[in-house]
Amino acid sequence: MKFEAYKKLFDIYTEENPSSITKTIIKISGLTVFWLILLLILFKVFAVSVNAFMYWYIGIYFVLELLLLFAYLVLYESTSHIIGFSRTVPINAHQFYFYHFILSSLKVEYIAEYLIVSLFLIAIGTPLIPIISLIMILVGMKFIRNYGEFFIYWMKKREVTFPYWSIIFFCIMIFVYLGSGHLLSLISNFAFTLNALVIITITLSLIALITYPVIINELLRDNHSNTNTYKFNQFTGWIASKFSLIFRMNKQLQSLVKYNGIRLLRNPKYIGMMLRMNSTILLFLTLNKYIFSDTTQDSKDVLFNVLYISFILCLLNLSNVKLTFKLNEKQKLDFFPVNLNMERVSLDVVNGIFIFLNFSFLMTLYNVVHSVPLVHIFTSVIAFICFFMLGLILESTYIYHVTKKIKVINYILFFTLGIALEVAFVSLIDWGMQLIVMLTLMLIVYSVRYKFPYLLVLKNKKNESTNKGKKPLVNN
């Protein structure tokens, strides 16, 4: 495949219109004027030092590259589209990788920008070595971002069969959290000088250069595989059967709990999400330790942290599992002759078990590091149930399809009510009151989610069209 052909494809998938020479000249002229004014203001008016400018420039570039990575992967999904198309045309891994790098990272505007900045820095007497280092870091960042696009996509593809990366990241986070004291002292000794940044960039670029052929070749091969391990199926089936036994008095509920359990245990996306939720919380706890330098050891701070674990876990469950992953829609329980309340009970029970296992694990880990008083553990369990119930109440505003409006309402309400609950648990209410709040929330969940499942459902055109067959006529 020729470069020009790939360029056309790239423009289509990034929704970019091909630019004429006149347009490019106008763009570069505008860019030159903008940069000259900006640099003059920074150096002449505000008297910014060259060092400070370089660090800010690198910092802003870093953020922009992260945003670009997000845009290509998530917003445009151009990486996945381009890979999907490239599988059907004669292009090899090296061509594909470098064409993509040139088009996404070495545009005329970028080169012009590097030139303007470099010439300006030379003009004000900056030595050549730091300028070359700066340009190396900037181009290196683009190279790593380009690699990151494919690497993340490749990781996602591999996670289709088993959540390898989530497990690895989770294990790393456990070690980081447990040994954060030693790691933090190591990090604090490390100086982020320009030379150090150049070394980091070169190292990462080398890793990218060595490993990209493997990644790209695998992506271009379209190697779909399914988990079909007899032992794994047997094992997950056995676990789901065991915990569904709790509901043996209701055969239908038992079979639905088993069905949901089996499907979720065998779903690498779901399991990966559960592990990443834990990793995220461990990351936050480690950062919290770093920022507050482990001074948070009084009883109230420990309580705040354990409540924080409950809150974030339930928030991530609502946000990632329910609103983004759309668990209720994905399970397709409406394909069976089952009432909406039965559907909800069975799915809430299974998801609740997974979340509670996460919570118990995190609390155990936190207890190992901080020795949490028993009373705080009880409070955190009650708070966890309250946050989980709050999530269930908010989720009752939709049946399957999640619209943007529902998402916004759910986020805002969970944040405000959740934080109010957390503050109340920390400072206002005693143990008895906490139990009353929990029971009240459970009663509300029972009423609005199971007894009258359509009470809070927000009506809108889109919602109605996808909530098929689940109309009040049947249940009420």
Binding site: N226, L256, R266, K330, F335, P337, N339, G469
Partner: protein, 227 residues
């Protein structure tokens, strides 16, 4: 009371009219085929019929009940379609059949014997504990059909049922449809393969311009072959 009554059904996607005042009535146990060109809306019609998709206008009644009656609809109908298999992902055929047995409250021993026999007939016994995702296109359809036959609903709807099936399986499916008719049940299916339509159906309808019209295969054989 009719098995199925569709009255002035209308479905549009944007400005494109897919179903335009479609009528259909099935009053007796039979095998009914729906034919039509690609993209004419056969699958959309079946999805609306079983309430997987909203219609814009019109009414659909199954055994005298509105399709909005979710429990009644799902208890008395079944759908075999490669577009409606997400609920089977990650589970094995055996787990699926056992789920059907529990949900429809069927006799465990009799139903187990039944699905084991069906699986054996279709030479699928070795796939009993494989993940549904790992099965081939045709095998997925066979498994889905066996699941539906376990509770043998009054109305069975199959979308492109013969597509991807081997010769023996096609024969088995046709025989099954005939058995269902003898048992007083209705089977409605779509197909592009005219030979199967001719062999298996009592009534043929052609979907064209959003409407169904009764189709006489022998008289218009040439035009039907264009389908």
């Amino acid at each position: 009371m009719s098995f199925l009554k569709v009255n002035r059904l209308k479905k549009t996607f944007g400005s494109k009219i897919i179903l335009d005042g479609l009528n259909l009535e099935i009053n007796e146990p039979s095998i009914v085929a729906i034919i039509g060109n690609n993209g004419v809306g056969k699958s959309v019609f079946l999805s609306c019929l079983l309430n997987y998709l909203d219609s814009d206008h019109g009414s659909i009644q199954v055994l005298g009940h509105s399709v909005d009656d979710h429990l009644f609809l799902r208890t008395n109908t079944a759908f075999v379609s490669s577009d409606h298999q997400e609920h089977l992902y990650k589970i094995t055929p055996r787990e699926y059949f056992n789920l059907i047995i529990s949900i429809y409250n069927l006799n465990q021993d009799a139903s187990t014997t039944k699905y084991e026999k069906y699986m054996k007939d279709l030479e699928l016994t070795k796939e009993m504990d494989s993940s549904f995702n790992a099965l081939s296109f045709g095998t997925k359809k066979k498994v889905q059909l066996i699941g539906c036959l376990l509770f043998n609903p009054p109305i069975l709807v199959c979308d492109e049922i013969f597509e991807g099936l081997d010769f023996e399986a096609v024969k088995w499916v046709k025989d099954t449809f005939i058995d269902r008719k003898r048992a007083g049940l209705v089977t409605l299916f779509t197909s592009h393969i005219i030979q199967h339509v001719e062999d298996a159906s009592d009534e043929i309808y052609r979907l064209r311009d959003g409407k169904l019209s009764s189709h006489h295969l022998m008289k218009e054989k040439d035009s039907v072959y264009e389908v």
